[in-house]
């Protein structure tokens, strides 16, 4: 668990390739939908992405996630999201 806990996951600017995480810039809404990348973002939201967006699992046990976007970091907790990300990383 410790090794996985420190692993970072890249969500590309296009989002589609790692759409399962469903994290977006701005309001940082979390997609409740399944693995469909198209379900997460509208084309307008996609065009507003300021550049790379990086998601890092800070603490898998508590579901604490950190998102780096533009010149900011946003920390939130979502155990379901962390579980989904870690399963995808297996």
């Amino acid at each position: 668990m410790e090794a996985v806990n420190r692993r970072s996951f890249l969500i590309k600017g296009s989002v589609g390739a790692v759409g399962a995480a469903g994290v977006v810039a701005g309001g940082l809404k979390l997609s409740q939908a399944g693995d469909e990348p198209e379900a997460g973002l509208s084309s307008g939201e996609l065009s507003e992405l300021p550049g790379p967006v990086l998601l890092s699992v800070r603490d898998a046990a508590t579901g604490e996630v950190e998102v780096l976007v533009d010149e900011r970091e946003v920390v939130f907790t979502d155990r379901a999201l962390v579980a989904k990300v870690l399963r995808a990383a297996r």
Partner: protein, 462 residues
């Protein structure tokens, strides 16, 4: 060295490695602050000559109320332009002016002033850097070319950012060989015949960010201080470099580019420098990276390394019989705590103080009410020159010798008049590394004060 590759982390990131910080009062009620980066540049640096990091934010931070936090900040950010995509060369002909079409790889920068409440004001955009000093065919009139890059800003500041000759001097090869001082090495635990010091940086260059600021712009009261004993006369200065939290390489493992590469996240301090040699000599190796990341107002956690400096214990062991009084000095070094972390309070040196309060922070403290010295003494305060280090730092101050002697006990009588320094740290034959007298080292008598950089043609090997 003062802070050249001084910590494991920053030693691998030269463009963000703050090597020296200087601050001194200059004519016309101005203060000049200089911060250097890119340690130990070999002048023959082609084909990719040295440059600032366009993904680094550089700052000159000034505390004017003693809390160890910046009240006035000058921020410098760079952009890099490649004007000719069809050549492998830095220049395709002589660079005789800053807009020369022969110059392929150039930088320019933005200067932003940030005040205490976070208010930002862009002072200038697209300020040109000079090229590196390449040689007589590429940069034949280098001094004038670099002078043209000294830029006056609308608010009264002057700035320069570009290559300069290294001003710091030290016998690096000997001091990190078990603290050998060549002029005194016959007294070392492993003795050899005495020899002259060798300046390891004698023909190296650095990249300099320099600013000359009207003094009222950096003081709390907005005036030129005239009373050296007024606490508000002193400012604390440090340089620092910042990177964003993460960098994503814009290539996948097959070498294909993809969208989304670049730096992202908040800016994190990766290097800083107030007093010379603080991180280099005081902070243990295992904590040097942490120190670079910490903000100065949190330096109390490092105070114990100042109070009981490792070097003060090594000297008596490495030079048997030379430092008997230092060997017997076991009390906390209140003199060093003052010099490095709070400033020197009133009452210790006649007519002088640069005390900023109880907050322990590694800042280069400069009492702005002390005028420049007509005849600077390389030993600064130790030599009776109130305008020199550790009251700020001038480019020619011999900070290695000053700090060596201070750590060896020369300044302890300031706080304990019963202590007698060892003969080795006082008088004309006191210890030093022997690198001050280098006729090849030159400084300017005007802004930006550091000398014209060595050219790659004339110094093919550093």
């Amino acid at each position: 060295m003062s802070s050249h590759r001084e910590a494991p982390g920053i030693s691998k990131d030269p463009v963000a490695d703050n090597t020296d910080t200087y601050a001194f009062v200059t004519p016309n009620n101005t203060v000049t602050i200089i911060t250097n980066y890119l340690p130990v540049e070999a002048p023959a640096g082609g084909p990719n000559f040295y440059e600032f990091g366009s993904d680094v934010t550089y700052q000159i931070n000034i505390d004017n109320d003693g809390d160890g936090r910046a009240d006035v900040t000058y921020q410098f950010t760079f952009e890099t332009l490649t004007t000719n995509p069809n050549t492998f060369l830095y220049n395709t002909g002589t660079i005789d002016r800053l807009d020369s079409p022969n110059w392929n790889r150039r930088q320019r920068y933005t200067v932003t002033k940030i005040t205490e409440n976070g208010r930002r004001k862009t002072l200038a955009r697209r300020v040109p850097c000079p090229p590196c000093n390449i040689g007589p065919r590429s940069t034949p009139n280098y001094a004038a070319l670099a002078d043209a890059a000294v830029t006056r800003l609308p608010d009264g500041e002057r700035v320069f950012a570009g290559q300069r000759a290294e001003g710091f001097f030290v016998d690096l090869g000997s001091v990190f060989d078990l603290a050998t001082l060549r002029p005194f090495q016959s007294l070392h635990l492993i003795p050899t015949a005495n020899a002259a010091g060798v300046d390891a940086l004698a023909q190296a260059n650095v990249h300099t960010i320099a600013i000359e600021v009207p003094i009222p712009k950096v003081t709390k009261r907005g005036r030129v201080p005239t009373d050296p004993m007024d606490r508000s006369s002193t400012i604390g200065v440090w340089g620092a470099a910042y990177r964003q939290r993460a960098t994503l390489r814009g290539f996948d493992p097959d070498g294909n580019t993809f969208e989304g590469g670049g730096a992202v996240g908040p800016w994190i301090q990766v290097s800083r420098l107030g007093n010379p040699l603080f991180n280099e000599v005081i902070v243990p190796l295992a904590r040097k990276d942490e120190w670079n990341a910490k903000l100065p107002h949190r330096d109390s956690g490092f105070a114990r390394f100042v109070a009981q400096p490792e070097l003060a214990k090594l000297l008596p062991a490495l030079y048997p019989g030379v430092f008997p009084n230092l060997a017997g000095l076991t009390a906390d070094r209140a003199d060093l705590l003052a010099i490095l972390l709070t400033g020197i309070p009133p009452g210790l040196i006649d007519g002088f103080q640069n005390f900023t309060g109880d907050t322990q922070a590694d800042l280069l403290r400069l009492n702005l009410a002390i005028p420049p010295s007509a005849s600077p003494n390389r030993l600064g305060l130790l030599g009776g020159d109130l305008a020199g280090f550790p009251n700020g730092r001038r480019v020619s101050d011999d900070v290695v010798t000053i700090e060596l002697r201070a750590v060896a006990g020369a300044t302890y009588p300031l706080v304990d008049s019963t202590f007698t320094p060892d003969a080795a740290v006082v008088g004309d034959n006191a210890i030093e590394d022997g690198t001050f007298n280098n006729p090849g080292r030159t400084f300017l008598d005007r802004f930006p004060y550091l000398g014209v950089p060595y050219s790659g043609y004339e110094v093919p090997a550093a």
